[in-house]
Amino acid sequence: MLAAQIIINALVLGCLYACIAIGFSLVWGVLNVINLIHGSIIVLGAYLAWGAYQSMAISPWYVLPVAVPVFFVFGYLLQRLLLNRVLHAPVLVTLTLTFGLDLILNNAMIYFFKADYRKLTLKPPMGSVSLFHVVVPVDRLIATVLALALTGLLYLLLRHSRIGRAIVAVRLDRDAAILMGVDVRSIYAIAFGIGAALAGCAGVLMALIFPISALTSSSYLDKAFVVCVLGGLGSVSGALAGGLLLALVEGIGSAAIGPAYATTLSFALLIVFLLFRPQGLLGRKGFE
């Protein structure tokens, strides 16, 4: 039964990891920018959910429709005003710039919300469901379903909307997309906005499960890195595969050799993948 519980836990966690990584993967794939501010945006989303519940008793899933436009505008403006200026600079410059932005946002959150760990506790608690001795908390289950829904929504957006097709076109071949009349600058900003919106929504869902603090942003970012590299860059299915693989490796690894080594294991896996399969599990050049 322990084995089944570990697998189920890993599946639940894997969907959440995919949700954390998917916006990061989109931005990396389309803009070719490693967005180090991603982790802090997730935490900001978590604080939004926490604040709404503490002050107005609004459940996190009702916060999602508000979080999407708010974080989209935030990301859109960030890209338009700052990142756009260095987009064609070398890797080093874009990385360092987003690192600087991350320092600002993270410090602002510590300043306003303090470094104390917060927890969003639903009242009354939602309990858990158990089936054949495998126990899953209901709030975790809801977060997983919503994470899957968000992932599916992005997939549909990229697959069937005009904007989505333009994003995919820019990812495939930027120059050809320009020749076809795609406004690349605005697509970049929209892609970054979508990435930020997904990060914010992921944060809202994380608030249901994990403690909230600005100090946790780097661990979210680390997960996003690993998931992207494992699954393959810039595809929805890749992020899902990477998330599940990471969660399985972490879950089985912590059961086998102890939880202290789970992070080491995931980083080691990351380096192995970078060397031998840099395109990831499901990597292709295109996006969908």
Binding site: I34, L92, L101, F225
Partner: protein, 311 residues
């Protein structure tokens, strides 16, 4: 090129005269300044010359700190301990470099970034050897006065900085430096004309690691206490990059001056606005990259440093 290197040595000589004018606080700042300059100059070898965006500085800094700390606790004197960190990190970085430097661009950046994470977790988990999360206490090196101690570590760090600067100057004038610049400009072409790119990059990575590790070792002996989240702090990887960008990419003089300037800014912010110091650092980074992308060197030596723009 020659003139800028001469200027670098003159700047270092001026720094050496610091104990004549300052007290214990100035010595502490001077030691930090030398340490930062070592990190920036070392990073410049792999990041500036070879053009590989390495975020592994913190990994080797922490490695050196822990090797030295563990050896000092085992009763080994300071100099052989630091020498062990120096040689050990050169070998480690050379071997890792042969593997990791096959990656390019973002992938190399992420791999080097995760190297820091791997080493930090290993130090965290090897409780018997490193003390784990509780950190490692390091015995006091000498029983002499505070001032003599400060002076000792200042000149130790300064000597290390001088050695790093000489290494950088020798490398940039040698065939190795020329090869690294070729690799930065076009690695495939460099390979084609018979340049052993893997060997060159590995040596560059090793050289950029060993002085950092020695500085980490000296730092550990200086502060007497290290823990994984302190010496494997990712900021040790990012700060040298910011310093080098501040001074001007690819120029040793720029890297050293960037390090000194950065320390001054950091100290001013830290002293006056402790609550928002990392935010101010962020603003500084953003402003620097948007307004002065080629660093301070570009303000006056614009024609001198044409190379820096291609990095």
């Amino acid at each position: 090129m020659k003139r800028a290197n001469l200027a670098l040595l003159i700047v270092l000589a001026c720094v050496a005269a610091l104990p004549l004018v300052g007290g214990a606080y100035a010595l502490r700042l001077g030691t930090m300044a030398c340490m930062y300059a070592i990190l920036a100059l070392s990073w410049n070898v792999v990041g500036g010359l070879a053009g590989y965006p390495s975020f592994a500085t913190a990994a080797f800094f922490g490695f050196g700190a822990y090797v030295t700390g563990v050896l000092l606790n085992a009763g080994v004197p300071l100099t052989p301990s630091i020498l062990a960190a120096f040689i050990g990190s050169f070998v480690l970085a050379g071997l890792l470099g042969a593997v990791l430097l096959r990656l390019r661009g973002h992938y190399f950046a992420i791999a080097s970034l995760s190297l820091v994470g791997v080493l930090r977790e290993l130090a965290n988990n090897a409780t018997d050897l490193t003390g784990g999360g509780m950190g490692l206490n390091i015995p006091l090196a000498s029983g002499s006065s505070i001032m003599a101690d400060a002076l000792f570590f200042f000149y130790g760090m300064w000597g290390l900085l001088l050695a790093t600067a000489l290494m950088v100057i020798i490398v940039s004038a040698s065939k190795l430096g020329f090869g690294l610049v070729c690799i930065r400009q076009n690695e495939t072409a460099a390979n084609m004309i018979g340049l052993n790119a893997t060997l060159y990059k590995s040596i560059a990575f090793g050289l950029s690691a060993c002085f950092v590790a020695a500085a980490g070792g000296l730092y550990a002996a200086w502060v007497h206490y290290i823990d994984p989240s302190d010496v494997f702090d990712i900021l040790y990887s990012v700060k040298p990059i910011v310093m080098t960008l501040m001074g001007g990419l690819g120029s040793p003089l720029g890297a050293a001056c960037g390090a000194f300037l950065y320390l001054v800014l950091e100290e001013v912010v830290w002293r006056n606005y402790i609550q928002i110091h990392s935010g101010v650092l962020g603003v500084l980074i953003v402003a620097l990259l948007l307004l002065l992308p080629h660093g301070l060197v570009s303000l006056r030596f614009r024609n001198f440093w044409r190379k820096a723009k291609h990095v």
